[in-house]
Subunit: 340 residues, 4 copies
């Protein structure tokens, strides 16, 4: 048996306990300490796991010599200083999405990790779901033909975030999925958004991404919806997918549907299109929790020194789209180029 | 018994037979003649209704002295010349959505109808559904509180239209509904769109409309979807609605849900929001066909001389949004002002 | 072109107009006359189809020399006298389900049709749906392995029938489907039923059928349900089907699910079972109307002289189960043998 | 603060950990010890809760002087001996459903508990769900009018139980709900069942219960279904309910639907029925876990000495129906009287 990777977790809010539980269940990891400023958050966790040590101060946790890796699940604005401090203390870092709140901050973290040969992984958790991995495999095999679009609705009631708008909270998931499955990097993004509650950030937004070639993406997010929706349509020339993350049994439904046409060449008359329709199939997905798979992947990378699938560069690419979306918002929806 | 209004129908394509059937069932109307250039379209209708006279040429139908009103269900580009000819021949006109393909054409039709004191009605058919009329009644009573947003997904596989893109074919329905229920006229529209089939019009588009005050609208349309979706979220400060036009039994679901907050004033700290959740109610809707209600309304207006709910001006307002959306597309998604 | 089969339709209630419409659309048939005692039922049909002749008296229609076949869609109690009269007048007969209200009546009709070499077909309409035909094809290929059960829920609000209970109105559909797909004839039926409205027939019933071997069937019918359900589970050793006739797109969903076990032999200890779970597939079904297919099949049999798939004997087999179910009701639910 | 009730839990299989967790969260209870013969079941629980003491032998746990109450979650056949031993040791007892495997065993437990003034509660867990409690409240207010029927489908794939058939595993839940909400005790039960796996118990069954007056109940259970269904229709003269326990948001949907009729008296002609249809409402249900509520109720009864809502007598009533159902199975489905 190898030595376990010793892990410290900073942040015991909504997502922290899930991270603790999933790192605890890894055979080759040991959760050593947790940190949160709020005693009412820290205490129930220490009660449930008597072996853990608690810190009110993240710096104290980061400073511990008996920790190899730091897991960060705090508000977005604090990702950068905490991750940087952890890297500078020689720790591998696993940080909640988004990696940081600006492209410059992401770049700085990447540089620090590379210089120190430490693993920097961002928790683009949907990339580790069975559903998205199945979609990736189908795309890799060419099952959908030419990929036409990704069109997502991701809405629910709450939770208004204290320091970011709904794009940074919800659209980030779609941007992370797109980073894994799109046929190339996005070129531009056009964004619109609206705030309905005075003094709060934008709670409703729509993003349209353009890509080289025929592919496009549209993302609709909202914190003020009466119902929870997590539904993505993925269209291709051969097949199309409905990916509904809320559906308990059939998260992915693959339709043998599409449009046939003959390309008429430049000077021909109108193309005639016809419709194809056929069977639907819902592939069986294993029930493994995405966070379990993400934690295992991080630990593997710590041991092997390889770059994670969702490394700092993936984190930066996703943040770059959101930064461009903010510029588009400021410009009344004009499509803005994305810094590659 | 009053004299029936004598009706001629031009266009026997996809929608024409529905119009014929619904005007035939009105007690105070008589469908006298139909016109279509395509004999294979005309013949089955004449076989089923032996009393009707058929014309290959719309002009011949319009010229008939024994017709009081002309119903037009032809490709969009022909709405204007056919409607204008009918008005100039002294006929009342009921025309499929959209009223015409440009703001100027709409204005010309309005002027002609007003000068001749003829009824000009556009078939904004969703305005006549039980569902939209129920939503209007709820908004009029203030059931939703302050109206926050209208967010619609209207996608399906096909039918690619020969002369217009998906905005003019599908988004027009949402714009017509918004014309009836929004708290005011839209100020700007930002649009993005994509064409996947060479030589065809845009088959996928997203529109964001801004309004005075807190209200906004988002519309997502697509001709290349594996599934048919007709689902609109309508958010308000007190209640929220899911309006699903495909749902057979519960087209409207009203949620006692929302967000509470105290407006902190300009110099206060962050607003604190909390979530309200309560019962859901699905009001019973009568099963009357929207087109039956629209046909009856048109006939009433012909008799009374009153302006229809969806008169030429409503038709123009909707076309003005689409024209601005086309300008936004050309400008890379920038929000464009709408000509009031 | 062959001479069309000349058809007369008796009964213009709920189902009659569907039969008229579907026989009218057959290229090789001509609907000549219709009969109904109720002028208010007859008139709208004659108005819509000016070529038809109407009769207040079914006997007059049956007596017409210019009719080859009689289609009967009247209350159950009248099926026998009308069908018998039509056969005795030398007409082929297509009769709504159930064939008649007793086994003796069915037998008499079969005998009359066979003696006169006339086609006698009962409208077991579900047997002609794309869904049931797909299920039959799957069973014929052995896709489900050994067939374990058929378990149906068929409930809705209304329509209380004037002369029969819910078994004769709704369960008859399941019995007709079972007649087509079960691995053999049913041996016994146990039935329970309840009447909630004074003076009305039983509105709620459950039937359990036993068969030779491992197969069984359960049918739950109800006229007093708040929602309409048409959902059948079909279990086999290899695969299982959910057949939901209300589902617009996926009427049949085939699950790669089941139980594995090793038969331990007579003196072994407990069998150990394990569960298999895999993909789901929803085969594409063509949209052809079942009644169109049934009408075409009847006309084919009239021309060829072959026995229809749902001939008088199929009608009798189904009535025999319902007659046994009535005996079971009278005996407090005891399973009763079915007359083969 | 009062002294906590000290609890020991016997059985760490499927349900045991849920019981442990829910008793641990009660402020006025302390889980002291757990027992299971299988070390692989015991160990993870002890690891997660270092304060607990583990026993391989239930008798050792029951004998502990520092325990006030014993919670039993073991195979059905062992409920009686374990519960009896616990009562005889002076402990209050909370036992999984069903209370025991025979009416005699239930009666013996009731007698022992009453003589010793100990609390005996059976975990009819659905009685403690928000959904069933809402239904009870509606019935108590007369919202449904006269109650007509309870019609349940409770099917899924697995888990075959080692010592009981599907009636004792799944139908028991419906019988427990009926014990709480039916207008009176059931008079007879007719049951049919089928076994598809050699050497296993019946995996599919249907029960019909008769009651005094107009009410009836039907229960359909199956361990070999491709899909999980937990759907109950509850019909009344004024309103009807669809109770779907799997539905995440709308477990209860109340329909303003029904049938109106005039009772014609004994010598009148046929009753005429008409259908009412109106709004649907889905009341908000609090998200409290049923087992949390059940555990709290047990502890309250231990303190107050009052009889639990699901006391030994409720347990006996439910077992009496299942015993009668077994007699009905043996008699080919004949309705059997239930021992009151």
């Amino acid at each position: 048996m190898v030595q376990p990777v010793r892990v410290g977790v900073v942040g015991c809010g909504y997502w922290g306990p899930n991270l603790i539980r999933n790192f605890q269940r890894q055979a080759d990891a040991q959760v050593v300490a947790v940190a949160d400023q709020r005693p009412e958050r820290l205490e129930p966790i220490l009660r449930a796991s008597p072996g853990l040590e608690g810190h009110a101060d993240a710096a104290a946790l980061i400073a511990r010599a008996d920790i190899d890796a730091v897991v960060i699940a705090t508000p977005v604005a604090t990702h950068f200083p905490l991750a940087l401090a952890a890297l500078q203390a020689g720790k591998h870092v696993f940080v909640e999405k988004p990696l940081a709140d600006s492209e410059a901050a992401c770049a700085r973290l990447i540089e620090e990790a590379e210089r120190r040969k430490l693993v920097l992984m961002v928790d683009h958790v949907f990339v580790f779901t069975s559903a998205v991995q199945k979609i990736e495999a189908m795309l890799a095999r060419g099952d959908l033909g030419e990929l036409y679009y990704y069109d997502s609705v991701r809405v629910n009631l709450g939770l208004f975030q204290p320091d970011v708008n709904v794009i940074w909270d919800l659209a980030v998931h779609d941007l992370a999925i797109l980073d894994a499955i799109a046929p190339g990097p996005p070129l531009t993004v056009a964004a619109t958004a609206h705030r309905h509650i005075p003094g709060q950030a934008e709670n409703m937004a729509a993003l349209t991404l353009s890509y080289a070639g025929n592919f496009t993406a549209h993302i609709n997010v909202n914190w003020l919806s009466p119902v929870k929706v997590r539904r993505t349509l993925i269209g291709g020339s051969k097949r199309m997918i409905v990916y509904d993350d809320i559906e308990p049994d059939h998260k992915i439904m693959v339709y043998e549907k599409g449009v046939d046409y003959v390309d008429p060449g430049p000077d021909a008359a109108k193309v005639r299109v016809s419709y194809r329709t056929g069977d639907m199939a819902a592939p069986h997905l294993d029930g493994r929790e995405a966070l379990d798979r993400a934690a295992a992947h991080f630990l593997e990378c710590v041991r092997s020194g390889e770059a994670p699938r969702t490394d700092g560069r993936a984190g930066l690419r996703v943040v770059a789209v959101m930064a461009a979306a903010m510029r588009s918002l400021a410009a009344g929806g004009t499509a803005m180029g994305i810094n590659a």
